[in-house]
Amino acid sequence: MDFTHTIIFLSEGVPLTLSISIISFLAGIAIGLPLAFIRAYENEVSFVVDAYEKIFRGIPEIVLMLLFFFGLGLYFPFPFGNAFFTAAFVLGLRSGANQSQIFRGAIRGVGDEQMIAAQSIGCSKWQAIWHVMVPQVLTFSTPGLGSEYALLIKDSSYVWVIGGLAEIMTRSIWLKNVPPYDVVTPFVFAALLYIVLTFPIALWLDRWGNKRKKKIGL
């Protein structure tokens, strides 16, 4: 395999790396946003959120991945026998724990007054959260969300341990294991690809967020 073949072969893993990362990122928002608001406004159950965060931030992704795919997958082949589902699921759960913390800080940053103002016009708590808090919290969170996205792109490489998902990392390891057993080039290209996938989007998100924040004075 020459350079061109290596780069093409690895690049073909980009869509899969991206889809695992983006789906788990969105799952992370779907989990993290409600958790952050529960933590902020429902004192009685906030311990559940704390426990969730501690568990999923405390266990290495690779352990979770193996546990869910081989462990749960054994007893529940549907859906955990599906490598793609399990990969996105595990990363999504972990990202939800991270994002819950990002959003919690943002809720504090946006401020309680916005909640009170929304309630003063007759909004219910959940209307106030949805129409007033969430849009501002998302804007406020952009730097944190940018690094969370970058983290997911990188962590998607752990899925090579469950095999069968031809994303960038899995492909690099395949290349290492076939003649001419080149242990350098595939990983150098993989590293470059990861940088290309993380850096511009994280930077764009950060810039967009800053511009928006300036505009609305957050």
Binding site: I116, A118, Q119, I121, C123, Q127, V132
Partner: protein, 250 residues
């Protein structure tokens, strides 16, 4: 049928050891304009927030018309939709334009159709004379414009009463004038208002009753003439002297 729009009966609210509201009762009839004034930190704002049930009173009752808001099980969101509230620090929704700020309650709380909500929001903006800012974000407007949007947000849904918590005290004197003009217009239209304010010339002009509030309770009530000619209580006397001196110095 009474024409009482809002009533507070023996309301109490403590913050730890601080007694912000201590046995305060008050009746506001349709078309009334009442003005609460007194030293800062005396609990006026807390009382006003209790009236709108934005802060829950510890004891006592709040009535909106015939409905007791302090009973358990009352739909407070529905009640608050009938009470306009204007904040000292304005608290416009930062992510929405002026129009968006005014429309939100009309669309989401009153559930009006899009066109009707738009028309009513525009009418409210027109009333406070800030239609030129309708597509601007709060951060892009002056404090006076922001507060007038705050007033538009409060009046757009035709509430039974508007509670105003020091609507001008966060503004420069220059910007205060435009907000006062807006309030004067509302007064002329017969809007029922309970205002916490230290704008004495304005009070003199529009208020039917002034309420001197200190250390969590009502010390003295009377007409503006009563207060300007000489209130009975020492505390009110002192406060009036200070405020009138300050106003003339300016």
């Amino acid at each position: 049928m009474t024409d009482i729009v809002m009533e507070a009966r023996n309301v109490y609210k403590n913050y730890g050891k601080l007694e912000a509201v201590r046995n305060v009762s008050m009746q506001i009839r349709k078309g009334d304009i009442k003005l609460i004034f007194g030293p800062s930190g005396s609990g006026k704002s807390t009382f006003l927030r209790c009236m709108a049930m934005l802060t829950m009173p510890d004891k006592g009752e709040i009535y909106l018309g015939e409905q007791c808001l302090t009973k358990p099980g009352v739909d407070l969101n529905k009640a608050r939709a009938r009470i306009g509230f204007v904040f000292q620090h304005i608290y416009l929704f930062r992510h929405l334009t002026a129009l968006g700020n005014v429309e939100l309650a009309l669309r989401q709380v009153l559930k009006l159709p899009k066109e009707e909500a738009r028309a009513r929001a525009l009418a409210a903006l027109k009333e406070v004379k800030v239609t030129e800012c309708m597509n601007k974000y709060p951060n892009q407007m002056s404090g006076g414009q922001q507060q007038r949007i705050g007033i538009a947000r409060a009046i757009a849904r035709n509430p039974d009463i508007i509670l105003l918590d020091e609507p001008t005290s966060a503004l420069d004197p220059e910007l205060t004038g435009e907000v006062i003009d807006t309030l004067r217009d509302l007064a002329k239209e017969g809007t029922t208002m309970l205002i916490v304010s230290h704008e004495m010339p304005f009070a003199r002009e529009v208020a039917e009753e002034m309420i001197f509030y200190d250390e969590g309770s009502i010390v003295e009530t009377g007409t503006p003439v009563h207060f300007f000619n000489g209130p009975h209580s020492e505390r009110a006397k002192k406060f009036m002297t200070r405020i009138i001196n300050r106003t003339t110095r300016e």
